[in-house]
């Protein structure tokens, strides 16, 4: 099927601002970006002046939750290996890669070690052949530096990036919050923010040794971001990400033992939060993802220490991230580099940007449309968002996966 999207403000790579231009698709690919109007055999889709953006690629979700992803404009999601069973065998990768098709592409991340136990390397090469595009340590941290170095060497030889969770477990063992005033007042077991920097510092040293590409999935502290900044200026192949929760909430959000704000890594101090916003502005942070981890009341309506970590973030990812544009930190084009283009590059897929020959994963958005986040009305399989009742702006009006309207 041939289509042309007209009267759209298109987010074209490299441009400073959205362009008034038409986008033609042929089958599942973008075939032409030009000022040409529709020809006879093309179906016209009138965007009525709205923004046409690449579909969001959510790097590191814990559950394939199609309704939530479609609501949030997510066309591809990289699934964390922390599943039951763990994604540490080629068959698991194959099965999960087909889970969302055809209207959502899931990219299962291969577990770095068997059972994610941090002891023995998993069959990464075979999982790559089965469709894995990156390797991940899941929610855990590989404590053994020897294993970590072997993993990085091995992944480098396979040209696979390694997505890591950065918290030194020696410090965070039983912690449920970041050390600070809130945890002290609430009597919650906490770990210093240094746990993140320690972990990042070690892995950067091992990147220097191995040459492997490491993506730090969520960097949330000033110290951690300084290390990433320095590594990038040294030319090391490192990238990092963050979630809107860590950009817009500090540890005060866990006051009154609000388990919906219990995240891993935990919400940080206001000073760290401000450092994260600066890192978005100066380009240190490469990816914004939702960390989508829907949890029902049986996991969350518990005493804080016993509740599970995680939030449902897919539906609110775009609307919350648009605050960065409204606050003047970045432009709309840069935002979609963070949400779509860079995650696609890390996964090595021809998607995530409106470029001829790329997958026609497109979303039509109104960045100004107001709505209110409401846990009771969420499309996700659970409504555990710490942003309940927050008024936000920005909605997805239409979503196209491989050129097909969903």
């Amino acid at each position: 099927m041939k289509q042309v999207f007209t009267d759209a403000q298109v987010l074209v790579p490299g441009a400073q601002a959205p362009q008034s231009i038409n986008v033609a698709t042929d089958g599942d690919r973008i075939c032409r970006i030009s000022e040409d109007g529709p020809s006879e055999n093309q179906q016209t889709i009138d965007c009525k002046g709205a923004i046409l953006a690449p579909g969001i690629i959510d790097l590191g979700v814990f559950s394939i939750d199609k309704p939530a992803f479609h609501y949030g404009g997510i066309t591809r999601a990289a699934l964390m290996p922390d599943q039951s069973p763990v994604l540490d065998l080629p068959a698991m990768i194959k099965h999960n890669a087909s889970e969302g098709k055809p209207d959502l592409w899931s990219h299962p991340l291969a577990a770095a070690t068997k059972g994610l136990k941090g002891a023995e390397l998993a069959e990464i090469g075979l999982m790559k052949q089965a469709g894995a595009r990156a390797v991940a340590t899941g929610r855990s941290w590989i404590a053994d530096s020897g294993i970590m170095l072997k993993l990085l060497h091995y992944c480098h030889s396979l040209d696979m990036p390694v997505i890591v969770h950065s918290e030194d477990r020696g410090l965070t063992a039983n912690a449920v919050a970041t050390a600070g005033e809130t945890a002290t007042r609430l009597g919650l077991s906490s770990a210093p923010a240094t746990a993140e920097a320690l972990s990042i510092a070690r892995d950067i040293a091992l990147v220097r040794e191995s040459g492997a590409h490491v993506h730090f999935r969520q960097v949330t502290t000033a110290q951690g971001l300084d290390l990433i900044r320095a590594a990038k200026s040294e030319g090391l192949p490192v990238t990092c990400g963050i979630t809107p929760a860590h950009l817009f909430l500090s540890d005060i959000a866990i006051s009154e033992f609000r388990t919906f704000a219990k995240l891993s890594p935990p919400l940080r101090s206001e000073e760290d939060r401000q450092s994260c916003l600066k890192a978005i502005e100066d380009g240190t942070i490469d990816v914004i993802s939702s960390g989508h981890d829907p949890r029902g009341p049986e996991d969350k309506r518990l005493p804080f220490a016993e509740a599970e970590f995680g939030m449902a973030g897919a539906e609110t990812l775009l609307a919350l991230s648009l605050n960065l544009v409204r606050d003047g930190l970045i432009g709309l084009n840069r935002l979609f580099e963070l949400l779509s283009a860079t995650p696609a590059k890390i996964l090595g897929v021809e998607a995530g940007q409106i470029t001829e020959g790329y997958e026609a994963d497109l979303i039509v958005i109104d960045p100004e449309a107001p709505w209110q986040i409401d846990t009771r009305k969420m499309a996700a399989s659970a409504g555990n968002t710490p942003f309940d009742k927050l008024p936000v702006q920005g909605r997805v009006h239409a979503i196209y996966k491989g050129g097909k309207a969903l």
Binding site: T184, G187, S189, E256, L302, P303
Partner: protein, 334 residues
């Protein structure tokens, strides 16, 4: 009548608001957030029960016909006994629910348990739980007043109130006193509630422990932190020792109980650094020879440890009385 709402601590002759304005809270989940006059109101109410408890006949029928459930999800001897005696002396039907007998062991969630307790139409529920915040979770789900008898490392409000009552009776006004709290501050709900209570009432609070047992950001709680016990004791009016839990001591937070006693144990020699009339307190149970030496603990002139236990019953009677006034239809408490 005017109430000083400026935050400055009220004096002993302070006038309290009338009726429920004196204590407008439905539950007693913690000391944090209570106004100075609310704390002093509870202490004043407790005073009358101290007198009653010293009489040969200790029974009143104020809570006659009411059911008080002591739901203890964590082991306790003295707090459970104290609440049980308090309820029974006031005529309530007191039921004790121990964790070992509870459905929580069978996988029932805490909220299910709360809903069950609520359906049994308790008039007050006293809860102890090993997790910080668990008591609040239950309080949100029940219709009757909930009293926190200790939740994790968070708060133990009646302990702080009984400590304040003990200090007030021995020293008069709490405002202006220097109180040194020493021991496992990091894991202590007693320490947190006492910090809130004593600083709200205008005391100068010092906390002392090796840094491995001091939580971060204590300075934001209006206290002065010390790791040198001698310095923390200098000129103190009250020395409050905290229990060191043996299971946390091996290799984790401190090298050994022996070393802890050497550096932080309250001995007669160390106590001499505090004021000559300094009061020694301990929430119990004590590790004799670890955080406190026996000769200090047993010194009737200096140690208020048994008096704390006595005040505990009076404070819990006052709290049960005040929190059930609405349901009992006491005039001014609707």
């Amino acid at each position: 009548m005017t109430i000083d709402q400026t935050g400055s601590p009220p004096t002993a002759g302070h006038q309290f608001p009338v009726g429920s304005d004196a204590f407008p809270h439905r539950h007693l989940l913690g000391i944090a957030g209570l106004q100075p006059w609310e704390i002093l109101f509870l202490l004043k109410e407790a005073e009358q029960w101290v007198d009653l408890n010293r009489q040969s006949s200790k029974h009143v029928d104020r809570l006659d016909g009411l059911t008080v459930i002591n739901a203890f999800f964590e082991n306790s001897t003295r707090t459970l006994l104290s609440f049980e005696i308090a309820g029974k002396r006031m005529g309530a039907d007191v039921v004790n629910m121990h964790a070992a007998q509870s459905s929580v062991k069978k996988g029932e969630t805490l909220i299910d348990t709360a809903v069950t307790l609520n359906a049994m139409r308790a008039d007050a529920i006293v809860i102890r739980h090993a997790s910080s915040g668990a008591v609040r979770l239950i309080a949100d789900k029940v219709d009757c007043p909930v009293l926190n008898a200790g939740d994790g490392s968070h708060e133990h409000p009646t302990q702080a109130l009984l400590d304040a009552l003990t200090i007030q009776r021995r020293k008069g006004d709490i405002s202006g006193l220097t109180v040194t709290i020493c021991g496992d501050v990091m894991h202590s709900r007693v320490a947190r509630s006492n910090i809130y209570c004593l600083t709200t009432l205008g005391a100068k609070v010092r906390v002392c422990a090796p840094t491995s047992l001091l939580p971060a950001s204590l300075d934001r709680m209006n206290v002065e932190a010390f790791s040198n016990f001698e310095q923390a004791l200098d000129g103190a009016d009250v020395v409050m020792m905290l229990r060191l839990q043996n299971e946390r001591m091996n290799g984790d937070f401190i090298p050994s109980p022996r070393e802890f006693h050497h550096l932080y144990g309250l001995t007669r020699e160390r106590l001499a650094l505090a004021k000559p009339d300094a009061l020694v307190m301990h929430p119990g149970p004590m590790n004799r020879g670890v955080e406190i030496s026996s000769d200090v603990a047993d010194d009737l002139e200096r140690s208020a440890i048994t008096e704390q236990v006595e005040m505990g019953v009076a404070v819990r009677m006052a709290c049960l009385d005040v929190l059930t006034r609405r349901s009992r239809g006491v005039e001014g408490w609707s």
